[in-house]
């Protein structure tokens, strides 16, 4: 993991505006602009908005975890508090007719999130490691608990709701429709992602990496590890607050859920799933997790089982996260050997994938067998209808699963060999990951 990180930084640290650094941003922005034309339904827009919010939040979280080496168990507090403040401001704007255009609302959330981070960071960032983690857990729990008690600000269990459309129209847009909100969210996504990327390029951002890796050495160089952590923490709080503001605009309601430990815990998992070592890691994590949560849960009641298994397996076999898996292929690509991997991949990964699907199907059948209503023996998987009370489907699924895993295992040696070859040969100047 650290190997790849250093390669990444080495590659990027040439600085300046090269095509290599600008191109991804332009492409991503273009994709964001075009997406609503591909997926037009309101639910797709809602899910994409939710993704965008999670991306901003996960990137903000990774400023702490990935770049600063600070493990927080209570980061939902800053997003939630920013969101609650935005909600209140939205309502004030409605009642007092304050000329605050809606697109600027996330700034309010950001500033409030940063304010909270300044207060809490002033004592929590003195040390990193377990003490920081446990203080964040304590603060998170305290604020989540007080959100149910202090009804005047947090609205109790119902939360605080408002209406985004009552503000002043901006250039004729009232944000009545989802598509308008989508472009607002996407705009903020690009802006905050860019700012966070640029922050990681500033001296403070660089020092955060140094403090993460070796605080003593950073101190010897004359930098206060504490202040570096504090600055990162405040900046992270700002962008978490922006995410909270976007949440307020999208869902028009904030509740205790936005502050509690479940939200804090899942952003940690999301960030890690995507990969903490890369700037774009949390983006992938947020996309995948949102899909699992909102789409997979429509398909199966067992979705949390699969999500749990995904995390355990990811951390066991791909500690660099999904981004790590992608970046592993940079070295073979540069050596021009990506092509050699296609066939072994086909021979190993495909059977393994089918095997995993088989395993999941087995769980599904067992679950259906145990819990379905009496008389409803039929279920459908992947479009095939069958009865769970006849032995045939069980045999088929167990058989397919075992065979596929056997094939995958048998071919994995070949893959490992090819992988090794693809990474070393010829020019010694690139070490390659692994």
């Amino acid at each position: 993991m650290t190997d790849t990180t250093s390669i990444m930084t080495k590659k990027r640290s040439y600085g300046g505006l090269s095509t290599g650094t600008v191109a991804p941003w332009v492409i991503c922005t273009a994709i964001l602009l075009v997406l609503p034309y591909v997926f037009q339904s309101n639910s797709a827009l809602t899910i994409m908005n939710q993704m965008a919010i999670t991306i901003v939040f996960a990137l903000a979280y990774n400023m702490l975890l990935g770049q600063g080496g600070m493990l927080s168990f209570g980061h939902a507090v800053y997003m939630g508090m920013g969101g609650f403040m935005c909600m209140h401001v939205m309502n004030w704007v409605e009642y007092q007719n304050i000329p605050l255009p809606l697109p600027l609302l996330p700034v309010v959330g950001g500033l409030f999130g940063m304010g909270m981070a300044t207060i809490i960071g002033s004592f929590s960032t003195r040390t990193a490691g377990t003490v920081f983690a446990m203080i964040s857990l304590g603060i998170g729990e305290l604020i989540a608990a007080s959100s149910v008690i202090v009804v005047a600000f947090f609205g109790g269990e119902e939360g605080v709701s408002g209406d985004r459309t009552y503000g002043l129209p901006v250039f004729g847009y009232e944000f009545l429709t989802k598509i308008e909100v989508y472009y607002l969210t996407a705009g903020w996504l690009v802006l905050s992602a860019l700012l966070m990327y640029l922050f990681s390029r500033t001296p403070v951002g660089r020092m955060a990496n140094a403090v993460r890796d070796n605080p003593e050495r950073a101190q010897f160089l004359g930098y206060s590890a504490r202040w570096v952590r504090f600055y990162s923490f405040c900046a992270s709080g700002f962008f978490a607050g922006v995410a909270g503001g976007l949440f307020a605009i999208n869902f028009e309601i904030l509740t205790e859920e936005n502050l509690n430990l479940v939200t804090s815990g899942s952003i940690l998992l999301i960030t890690f799933l995507g990969g903490v070592g890369f700037f774009f890691g949390p983006i992938i994590g947020a996309i995948v997790f949102t899909l699992l949560q909102s789409v997979l849960s429509l398909q199966t009641e067992l979705w949390q089982l699969y999500v749990g298994a995904l995390f355990v397996l990811t951390v066991m076999y791909f500690p660099g996260g999904l981004a790590g898996v992608i970046m592993m292929h940079v070295a073979p690509y540069k050596l021009g050997k990506l092509g050699t991997l296609v066939v072994p991949y086909f021979k190993t990964v495909l059977p393994a994938a089918i095997g995993i699907l088989g395993l999941a199907s087995f769980c599904e059948i067992m679950f259906h067998f145990k819990h379905a209503a009496v008389g409803e023996n039929d279920m459908s998987l992947f479009g095939i209808e069958f009865s769970t009370h006849s032995p045939l489907p069980w045999i088929v699924i167990v058989g397919v699963t075992l065979v596929c895993f056997w094939i995958a295992k048998r071919n994995s040696a070949e893959l490992r060999e090819t992988w090794g070859n693809a990474n070393v040969l010829s020019s010694p100047k690139e070490g390659g990951a692994q």
Binding site: T130, V131, M134, V151, F311
Partner: protein, 318 residues
């Protein structure tokens, strides 16, 4: 006065239960540096295994067998899961246990369903042993105290009087040195993890009938166990004991006395606002101690960490 005595007993039961969980966790943490988020999940597994065993063989075999099964499961998870992750560092380890906690909860729901299961105390202990005033003290509670104290004494004996205990203690303070002396540290890790999870399993076995056996029981207790070991000081068994009892009594007392914020504020010299319904601080005025009882340990933890990052009895930062 009677009530104070009753609260002391109730707090002791809860505190000792916390200790059984936190003693295992603090051993695991100080030795391996792993914040084992799945620790409370092993507690849940203990309760469910014991429930399953009790359906066929009664309560008592479950008391012995369930912790052993949980301990073996814990050791296996350490051997085949955690050890693999260990090389990547502490954060991946933590995520691993995080995912494990999710997974265990799902697996429990898969096999035992999502409802509370009827896991009960044995019939012989289902009577009121004595009463203090109008309050009955159930025999099972006294049994819980006895088991916990027994476990504490055993732990203390093993850690201070036996050779294995010496090595473990040494490994707590200087893991590298112990390894350099030729001890098989990975094996010790596995053993400590197994014993720690077995202790959690035992806590589940005896707490299940009292606090309920349901899939949310791990989550309910999960973070408070961390709070306990952090307050006590990482790696300190005595610290874990003191912190457990402190938290036990603190939450019990807080739940028992309706001290109102309004009284305190008025005693300090604030004046009660006349119209409370629209007052901005109305929730603060109407606050009572039982409302905030369960979050007091978190407050205590933050305060302690700010002023004494090593916890009450800890010697080193993690």
């Amino acid at each position: 006065m009677e009530l104070v005595l009753v609260i002391l007993i109730d707090g002791l039961v809860y505190g000792l239960l916390l200790f059984m969980l936190s003693s295992g966790l603090t051993l695991i943490f100080s030795m391996m540096g792993v914040l084992n988020f799945a620790h409370a999940s092993f507690y849940m597994l203990g309760a469910y295994f014991a429930y399953q065993i009790s359906r066929y063989m009664g309560f008592w075999p479950g008391l012995i067998l369930a912790p052993i099964i949980v301990g073996l499961a814990g050791a296996a998870i350490e051997r085949f899961g955690l050890r693999k992750v260990h090389q990547y560092g502490h954060v991946p380890e933590l995520i691993f246990t995080f995912g494990l906690a999710l997974l265990i909860e799902e697996i429990v729901q898969f096999f035992w369903g999502k409802n509370q299961v009827p896991y009960d105390a044995p019939e012989v202990l289902q009577f009121a042993l004595f009463s203090i005033g109008t309050n009955e003290i159930q025999a099972y509670k006294v049994f819980m105290i006895a088991i916990s104290v027994l476990i504490f004494l055993c732990l203390l004996y093993v850690l201070t009087k036996t050779r294995v205990g010496m090595i473990i203690q040494a490994a707590l303070s200087y893991p590298r040195t112990v390894e350099a002396l030729g001890h098989n540290v990975p094996f010790i890790f596995m053993g400590v993890f197994g014993v720690g999870t077995a202790l959690a399993g035992l806590a589940g076995v005896i707490a299940g009938p009292q606090l309920g056996t349901f899939p949310g029981m791990a989550f309910l207790l999960g973070s408070i166990v961390f709070v306990t070991i952090v307050i006590g000081g990482l790696g300190s068994l005595w610290g874990a004991l003191v912190a457990s009892l402190l938290i036990g009594w603190m939450t019990t007392f807080a739940a028992s006395y309706n001290i109102a914020m309004a009284d305190i504020l008025m005693a300090v010299g604030f004046e009660m606002p006349e119209d409370m319904s629209e007052h901005a601080l109305r929730d603060i005025w109407s606050l009572t101690l039982p409302q905030i009882g369960p979050i007091l340990p978190y407050l205590l933890m933050v305060v302690i960490l700010v002023f004494r990052p090593y916890g009450l009895f800890g010697k080193r930062d993690a």
